[in-house]
């Protein structure tokens, strides 16, 4: 009977929605959106939707995509998720060159900085590594198999990133832990040496991102279910600064909706030359902008950018040195889901350097649909529809799903405690009868 409980713990989260994701090509060539099993790419240079071809011989995605990422060089892209597939794509032109089958569902994916390896994390908290690209002759070796290089003991890895200097791989989990592991020269033999643990979050860690002083030291940022954005010296595992979004709760919410559990950090994204952190917060229609001063090692509040009431972004992306923020809202795996609900909403928010001065008078806002680069073409490709009335319906459904899922994540611990107590009692009763 204990076994059943364990399996439950491992698959809890299965019935949760998968948020729509967005990723931006590091040199601005393209932008990708994933919702459910659907991957949508728009070519920003050509101004057209990309039709994705698959040379890998593997199956297409058949269940929710949980993670997408571009390689640092922009030539590679990966998508992975609940169908236990990790698909590696070349981006110029777009085609899938490798489909890796994982034993378990995949929760995170990242390329090593040199683009040689793709790492993915499965639902058991194990990180696997596999050669990413083709060999010199353009072949993908068919018999190569991913190897496990380390793991978080029985927790789900929510985010995985390589440091820009290539030295570390950082993994964050649902148990408030961030592990920073040295990425060795021969990583296929395992990544066993831990550089640090970054401990400070008091709830699940939902996202991490590396940043660096141009040409200088790297730092790590994280956001979590505890409403905090944290800045770390990941070399020593030192917490440098914490910004609690509840400090500016007045700016965030209408007076009647200041429920703490709704202020979990959903996603963070560096932008404007790494000087700003855009923060998506679970109940905020819009974004919070923080200034990130790596010299003073400080995070400070800049402003809240509002979007329309029903728009709460599920994912953010930006090229780090460009002040253009891509946001997306959408979800799959919702109850009563139909194909039409795979619709997503994309909004682009331009950030000017002057936003750094937190000038109250100046108003950043999402671009109107008519101002979006490539206009309707882009929106149709990435959103799946332009129909405004349908959109509203979708946003409302997504909003509800977001709330339920976040609530589940936060009360997970209490539930299992209750259950355990129940089981314990059951056991004692039996003993007495015997």
């Amino acid at each position: 009977m204990e076994d059943t409980a364990v399996e439950e713990a491992e698959v809890s989260g299965a019935a949760e929605f998968a948020p729509a994701l967005v990723a931006a090509h590091p040199f601005g060539h393209s932008v990708a959106v994933a919702v459910g099993p659907d991957l949508r790419v728009f070519d920003l240079q050509g101004g057209c939707a990309v039709s994705l071809s698959d040379d890998s011989g593997g199956p297409a995605h058949s269940d929710a995509i949980r993670a997408i990422t571009f390689g640092a060089g922009g030539d590679l892209f990966a998508s992975a998720g609940d169908d236990k597939l990790v698909k590696v794509w070349k981006t110029g032109p777009w085609r899938c060159i490798r489909t890796i089958t994982s034993e378990k569902r995949v929760s995170a994916v990242a390329f090593s900085n040199d683009g040689l390896y793709v790492a993915f994390a499965d639902k058991f908290g194990v990180v696997w590594l596999e050669a990413a690209g083709e060999d010199d002759e353009g072949h993908v070796s068919a018999d190569s198999k991913p190897v496990s290089i380390f793991g978080h003991y029985c927790s789900i890895i929510t985010s995985m990133k390589f440091s820009p200097d290539g030295r570390f791989i950082a993994t964050a989990d649902r148990d408030f832990k961030i592990r920073v592991t040295l990425f060795p020269k021969n990583p296929m033999k395992g990544a066993t040496e831990i550089q640090s643990f970054c401990l400070g979050h008091t709830e699940f860690v939902s996202c991490i991102a590396f940043t660096r002083i141009s040409g200088g030291s790297c730092f790590l940022l994280s956001g979590g279910g505890d409403s905090a954005v944290r800045l770390w010296d990941h070399i020593n595992g030192c917490l440098l600064d914490t910004y609690d979004v509840r400090d500016n709760v007045g700016e965030l919410s209408e007076p009647n909706e200041t429920e703490d559990s709704n202020l979990a950090i959903g996603n963070i994204c560096l932008t404007n030359n790494n000087s700003m952190v855009a923060v998506a917060i679970q109940s905020l229609n819009g974004l919070m902008l923080l200034a990130c001063d790596l010299v003073a090692k400080k995070l400070s509040f800049l402003k809240v950018i509002r979007t329309e009431k029903s728009y709460i972004p599920t994912s953010l992306a930006s090229r780090c040195w460009e002040g253009l923020l891509w946001t997306v809202m959408g979800a799959s795996n919702m109850p009563n889901q139909s194909v039409s609900q795979l619709l997503t909403r994309v909004k682009i928010i331009p950030l000017a350097q002057k936003d750094v001065q937190a000038s109250a008078g100046h108003d950043s806002a999402a671009l109107d649909d008519t101002e979006v680069p490539h206009g309707e073409k882009l929106l149709l490709a990435l959103q799946g529809s332009l129909d405004g009335s349908k959109q509203e319906e979708v946003l409302a459904a997504v909003l509800a799903a977001l709330k339920v899922s976040m609530h589940k994540m936060l009360v997970k611990k209490n539930y299992s405690e209750e259950r355990r107590e129940q089981r314990k009692r059951g056991r004692n009763d039996k003993k007495i009868k015997n």
């Binding site: 713990a9 029985c154 927790s155 021969n186 066993t192 831990i194």
Partner: protein
């Protein structure tokens, strides 16, 4: 429930301490369940004054005499300490080293706490260096110890988890060895012993495969005063000895990584 092993269940029939039966607990805990006991957010939040009041007086902050003696850190950890026999045996051997037992079962932890307090009361000035904490060592080791803090870790007669799909619940695994290596200083020693041959082979092979550990040579093992305690000091060890059971030990040193 099926019987998993004779090696389990320090669940209280040794009878050496009469009060033990009051702390009778079920034999197995499931290390994967979520915790409902307090976990320090990081080693900085681990309140040592509760555990080692002699070394960490509660009013330490207000002492204005200027003489700040650096309090010692915990150096030994007994993981899955059971009823605490090893700690009691080690305490007088290393009177200036702080040691902690980590135990998942609530009642067993309470028993060890009482045992230590009783020993301190009847032997003033002794046993101030041992304590116990209720925790899941498989999930929270980094919450208690800083990098390179420990010089010895003990895994005595751990639960065997025979079924293949439960192997990842074993306290020694390639994954968990990364964390143990992190909290251990180079040169630190990890001691394991079991009466279950299959588990003994497993623990040894994990340690052999792990690049941050190497086997301690036989000559060194022979002169290490701690080794004798592995099979004699704990309740489980004594039970195995009484039944004339065979034991399998693996003793490895934390080394620094050689990248070729």
């Amino acid at each position: 429930m099926t019987r998993t092993s004779g090696a389990n269940g320090g669940g209280g029939q040794s009878g050496k301490l009469p009060r033990k039966r009051f702390y009778r607990a079920r034999a197995h805990s499931n290390p994967l369940s979520d915790s409902h006991f307090p976990i320090p957010i990081s080693p900085d939040d681990f309140d040592l004054s509760q555990h080692y009041p002699r070394y960490y007086p509660a009013d330490k902050g207000e002492r204005g005499d200027g003489e700040e003696v650096e309090a010692p850190l915990i150096r030994f950890a007994d993981v899955g300490c059971g009823f605490g026999g090893l700690l009691v045996g080690l305490s007088p051997l290393f009177p200036d080293k702080l040691m902690i037992g980590m135990e998942l079962r609530d009642k067993v932890t309470e028993y060890v706490k009482e045992r230590v307090l009783a020993l301190r009361a009847s032997n003033p000035g002794q046993y101030d260096n041992i304590s116990v904490v209720r925790t899941n060592s498989m999930k929270y080791i980094p919450n208690y110890f800083r990098k390179a803090q420990l010089s010895k870790m003990f895994f005595l007669f751990p639960d065997p988890h025979f079924k293949e799909k439960n192997h990842r619940r074993r306290v020694i695994s390639m994954q968990l060895l990364d964390e143990y290596a992190f909290v251990m200083g180079v040169g630190g020693i990890i001691y394991t012993i079991t009466d279950v041959e299959e588990l003994g082979v497993w623990m040894r092979s994990c340690l052999e495969k792990h690049p941050l550990f190497e086997a301690v040579p036989e000559e060194e093992i022979e002169v290490d005063p701690v080794v004798k305690l592995l099979s004699t000091a704990t309740e489980e060890g004594q039970k195995v000895a009484r039944n004339g059971g065979q034991t399998f030990q693996a003793i490895f040193r934390r080394i620094s990584l050689q990248e070729e």
